[in-house]
Subunit: 317 residues, 2 copies
Amino acid sequence: MNIGLDMMGGDFAPEQSLLGVQHYLESEYGSTSDSVVYALGDETMLKPQLQSLIDGGKVVVVHAPDLIAMNEHPTRALKEKPNSAIALGFGMLAQGKLDGFISAGNTGTMLVGAAHIIKPIAGVHRPTIPTYVPKLNGGYSLLLDVGINADCKPENLEQFAMLASVYAQNVLKIDNPKVALLNIGEEEGKGNLLAKAAYDLLKVNTSINFIGNAEGRDIFTGKADVIVCDGFTGNIVLKMAESIYHIFSHKRKVQDEYLETFNYENYGGTPVLGVNKTVIVGHGISSALAFSNMIKQADSIARSGMLGQLVERFQVG
Amino acid sequence: MNIGLDMMGGDFAPEQSLLGVQHYLESEYGSTSDSVVYALGDETMLKPQLQSLIDGGKVVVVHAPDLIAMNEHPTRALKEKPNSAIALGFGMLAQGKLDGFISAGNTGTMLVGAAHIIKPIAGVHRPTIPTYVPKLNGGYSLLLDVGINADCKPENLEQFAMLASVYAQNVLKIDNPKVALLNIGEEEGKGNLLAKAAYDLLKVNTSINFIGNAEGRDIFTGKADVIVCDGFTGNIVLKMAESIYHIFSHKRKVQDEYLETFNYENYGGTPVLGVNKTVIVGHGISSALAFSNMIKQADSIARSGMLGQLVERFQVG
């Protein structure tokens, strides 16, 4: 597999992205994989840093001198900076020269690129991004959407459930993943208008293992492997969980094994689900460990056969 | 003040409600107050337990032999059980024989009683319940609505902001409380349709101190004293926060001073805001400490003059 990484994206790039590539290639997963990391960025800076890995055939540098800033307008940035890592990365991904592309840079640009250069899988109305939710007894659930789709229709939530189920099965290796609807009561008939209508669709969808509602108190218990909600609610949950980690781990100096599983570095970034290729969006503050885990994640997805399954699943008729 | 307490409501009543009354009357607040606790329940059981407090003039027992179960239909229960603590309590509150009424029993019945026997303050479209959110640097914010109003209009969020501002000022003694809109971005123009429309109302409302959006990460930082959202989102946040406390304090045995401020017992229950009297709804699992703090809270609200201010604030014209 050829995995592209924007070396210039993120608050601590390229220092941390360079360290991340090294960390990945020294890890058990990376050192035994035959995949190649395509490092996109300014080659005059990157090549000297990566020379031994280039010589070893593990890394290819792609010259991408343009820089897209964190606050640039996504569509304009992609048009006006064709030699940026993000524009070049999506181009190579669309042409099949890359099997996955990762950036911790301008999130809006990543989402616009995924939706407009890579494009949604036929039948998918809205691409979506999940977050990993640590289960109290180990492993992760997926909660989605976490912010691309602030206003949702019931059909969107149904598709999020289908997308994340296939991801959970193929990438997280969870057999017959349990799907729940995030809601404000346990029983059918509870909720706001959106949740009530989404429940009706989810309970008759035979392609997913729908187990009913999950309340706010069930998010971390592992009741479900996939929890669906609109992007407004999901974004609040995501940022609240991040702040809980920040407050207790960093400010209150609490040391707890379970608390540490809240650290985003454990998975690194989030896949864009529902588009035709493997795209990973990283956290702006991505560290070396986060970059390393994103490369691993992209490689796992690209190898998983998930995209083929999704294309089939959403085929009309 | 005369504060009524349903002695039979809650999973651990009447053991914990009896201990709660004692705890309250032994506390600094309760022992120095001239208020009287009206204990509503089966007098044959209550009187022997409370005899010395009755003799001391601190407690009056009101015979309420009917029991409303946790899962009973609210409207039917109120009609069919006129001698239940909740039905009698609301009756006495409406007649001015009580200045506040508290129950940790059937929540639906409490809300129906508040809305239909006590009734909303003229001009208030929807009564609401907040939750107390512990600020990292001490004290509490209010986040509302947390579940009565699953679907909201922008005008509802505006009224929640007005109601909680007056509560924060009068009861929490926060001067000129900062009001924020729970949202998925910092800047104006972010959010779902509801949040965008609510922002437009909040920013021109001169009766509140609106400071803009608060994201999920800002909930615990004390950025705002009042955070408004629809009841779906708020209920997810509330139950997620409760489970964070439960997981880290009880299951992971984390000992941390800030974590302990998440314990609902610290405030005991939640006021119903926007109705004409002081009504407190308790947690089903209410402990003695929770009951004690609810009595204190009801007494504080009843003394605060908040209701008069609200009536004035919502007066049309």
